[in-house]
């Protein structure tokens, strides 16, 4: 049984061996290595020649789909040859086939929720230790040490579903470190986190690496924030091998522009901000008056007493720390949740032809024609089995005649570069394509107001730029844009006004 009431804030001394970051650092050697996933025609990577010495810290870069995750999974020994994957060349971790060196490496993924296996914090860290047959008597001590190393703020009995994304990622890091890996592989560990939590994780990582000395291979597309952790950059190309390898300064000098075009966030090369154009006059489309909402069974209000106005020809950014109720407020504005107290009403230009009842009471068909909502996860909104059907669905629901609906769908596909995917199933699209499709399907009903929840979440530089240009153009054309975001540069580039929500007590 774990010590009752154990908190992870136990004293951490640097000469305590259980506190070091990992085991003996290991080296990596790849010679002409390549891999093709089962059922695919193209090779994910081919002809990779790479040497990483013990204790080195490397940033792995490349455009989306360039096989970075594949390489990490292979280094972790997780590629199962009997599953149909084809490999060539050699890949060695600590001089061994990765599958034999699995206990030397630890791999951290991007999605915090998919890495937490157990319902309680302590159990999750203990999970890996149980798998490695660590004796029962040592398990809880090592778990406590690992949690202390990542400065985990809660005790071992804490429920994992009550943790924020940042805390979950911290827990996942602790669970990995408890196994004392000599090779730490991090696959975009902060991509799903807000800036504050991302910075916190990077800080903790920095401190751990300083103390410990494991070899690090990091994949991260927000490069300038990752540079503090690494001293070498390796660039991969899709279907190929290493195309650049050296110090960050050298690599970015040689290939900076190329990488930026391919979607990597190169430091010193910010994406262009759209110029402001003249716009049609602005009118109020949605007004909230003392709007308050509390989720059923929750102890406190998610949103309390908010007054705001959303206007056409204008972009409003809703910002604030984690848990401040931004997404809930967006749902209230979009008419998807009814306020418990206060009101959320439409302005005259928006309710014209329907009636002055609260937006939350509008039938879905009316709502879709006037307010388009884009959710954080595009897959939550997919209804049809092909991209073109997805775009035809909305217009048909609001009563547009088939010919006009078809024209509009074609226009949107052209504008958002989805025409070549017209017959593909929406779930099979790439992350950026799904995002564009979800925006397109919200626009298909020609709503006057567009509400977006974290539109740039997990997107690379190219999609980020495209979204920025698209939304700016819509705003300049007279639509109202209301968006929730953690992404400060995006908000600064697009928003005309800000609404900042306060932190929860």
């Amino acid at each position: 049984m774990p010590p009752a009431g154990s908190s992870a804030r136990s004293e951490a001394s640097d000469d305590n061996p259980a506190m070091t970051a990992g085991g003996r650092p290991v080296a990596i050697a790849a010679r002409g290595w390549g891999l093709r996933h089962p059922g695919r025609r193209e090779w994910a990577l081919r002809g990779v020649d790479l040497d990483i010495g013990a204790g080195e810290r490397v940033l792995l870069l490349g455009p989306s789909g360039s096989g970075k995750s594949t390489l990490l999974a292979a280094l972790a020994g997780l590629i199962d040859p009997s599953g149909g994957a084809q490999t060539e060349g050699s890949l060695l971790v600590d001089g061994l086939d990765p599958r034999l060196a699995r206990d030397r490496s630890g791999l951290l993924f991007q999605d915090p929720e998919a890495q937490i296996v157990m319902g309680r914090v302590g159990d999750d860290v203990a999970f890996g230790l149980e798998n490695r047959c660590v004796p029962t008597d040592d398990i809880w001590a090592r778990a406590a040490a690992a949690l202390a190393a990542v400065e985990f703020p809660y005790g071992m009995e804490r429920r994992t579903d009550a943790l924020s994304g940042g805390e979950q990622q911290r827990l996942a890091l602790a669970a990995t470190l408890a196994l004392r890996p000599g090779l730490l592989l991090l696959d975009e560990p902060t991509a799903n986190l807000d800036p504050d939590n991302a910075a916190a994780i990077r800080d903790v990582l920095g401190r751990i690496l300083e103390r410990g000395g494991a070899t690090l291979v990091l994949v991260e597309h927000r490069v300038d924030e990752a540079l503090g952790l690494v001293d070498r950059v390796v660039v991969l190309e899709a279907g190929g091998g290493v195309v650049a390898d050296g110090s960050p300064r050298d690599v970015f000098r040689e290939r900076g522009t190329e990488l930026a075009t391919a979607g990597v966030w190169v430091p010193g090369l910010p994406p262009p901000t759209p110029e402001r154009r003249r716009r049609p006059p602005s009118e109020t489309v949605v007004m909230a008056d003392a709007a308050t909402y509390r989720y059923p069974g929750a102890p406190t209000d998610a949103v309390a007493g908010i007054d705001l106005q959303v206007r056409s020809s204008e972009a409003l950014a809703i910002v604030g720390p984690n848990g401040s109720g931004k997404s809930t407020l967006a749902l209230l504005i979009a008419g998807l949740l009814p306020p418990r107290r206060g009101s959320v009403l439409a302005g005259e230009s928006l309710y014209a032809g329907h009636g002055h009842e609260p937006i939350a009471a509008w039938p879905a068909r009316v709502l879709a024609g006037r307010i388009g909502t884009v959710f954080q996860d595009p897959e939550h909104q997919f209804l049809a089995s092909t991209v073109s059907d997805e775009l035809l669905l909305g217009p048909r629901r609001v009563g547009l005649d088939p010919a006009a609906a078809l024209r509009r769908a074609d226009e949107l596909m052209e504008r958002l570069h989805l025409a070549h995917l017209a017959h593909a199933n929406p779930f099979t699209l790439s992350g950026g394509e799904k995002r564009r499709l979800s925006v397109a399907s919200a626009l298909a009903t020609a709503p006057a107001l567009l509400v977006l929840d974290e539109p740039t979440f997990g997107q690379d530089r190219r999609t980020w730029s495209e979204l920025l240009d698209l939304l700016a153009a819509l705003r300049d054309g007279g639509r109202g844009i209301c968006f929730v975001t953690h992404d400060r540069p995006f908000a600064r580039a697009l928003a005309d006004r800000f609404l900042t929500l306060g932190a929860r007590a």
Binding site: P38, G39, D80, G83, S385, N425, P426, F427, T428
Partner: protein, 195 residues
């Protein structure tokens, strides 16, 4: 449509089987809550339960069709019932017994197919046997007084629901999932591409 299946379960087989079953459990608890709230005087008539009951026969068959290994259907039915015991049902252990029986019914169907037939007819057989198993549990527990006529009607109704919802329904859901490409790691997903 047959496959020579391997009988060793990979980690992804177990976890996806569990998560699919859990997803069903979550959805059904939600629908149940809705149903109970909407009909205050619930006289437990089979027709009134129709769709709602039939969907409990789904998880076993669907998990079997996705994972295609011995024990998959039983596992799926059982885990879905565990969800209900945890968050929805106040019946506790009895819900687990029910779920295990229904999953076991589906399992029997796939066993009859020697774990090589994962097509619509066997899905329907799975649904039918899951329904039969459900009836075998329900009648002695809930309707012991009502006599052979009612028992026959109830059993037939549950088996039919099993075939339609548990069998055909599971089949349709499988096809929809295959089209989304999310089953690429599974034999079911790869088959579609060859066709």
């Amino acid at each position: 449509m047959t496959t020579t299946g391997r009988t060793t379960w990979r980690t992804v087989d177990v976890v996806v089987a569990a998560v699919v079953a859990v997803a069903f459990g979550v959805v059904f608890v939600a629908w149940n809550a809705l149903y109970v709230a909407a009909t205050p005087l619930f006289i437990a008539l089979p027709p009134a339960q129709a769709i709602l009951y039939g969907v409990w026969l789904l998880p076993g068959v669907l998990v079997g069709l996705i994972v295609r290994r011995p024990g998959a259907a039983l596992f799926g039915g059982f885990v879905a019932a565990v969800v209900s015991a945890l968050i929805g049902s106040q019946w506790g252990l009895d819900a687990l017994i029910s779920g295990a029986l229904q999953g076991g019914g589906a399992e029997l169907a796939f066993a009859i197919g020697l774990y090589r037939a994962w097509n619509l007819p066997f899905a329907m057989l799975g649904g039918a046997l899951a329904g039969l198993a459900a009836a075998i549990h329900d009648l002695p527990v809930y309707y012991p007084e009502t006599g052979p006529d009612f028992w026959l009607v109830y059993t037939v109704a549950t088996v039919v629901r099993g075939i339609v919802i548990g069998g055909i329904g599971a089949w349709l859901i499988l096809r929809a999932l295959v089209r989304t490409g999310v089953l690429a790691d599974f034999a079911a997903g790869r088959e579609q591409r060859e066709v």
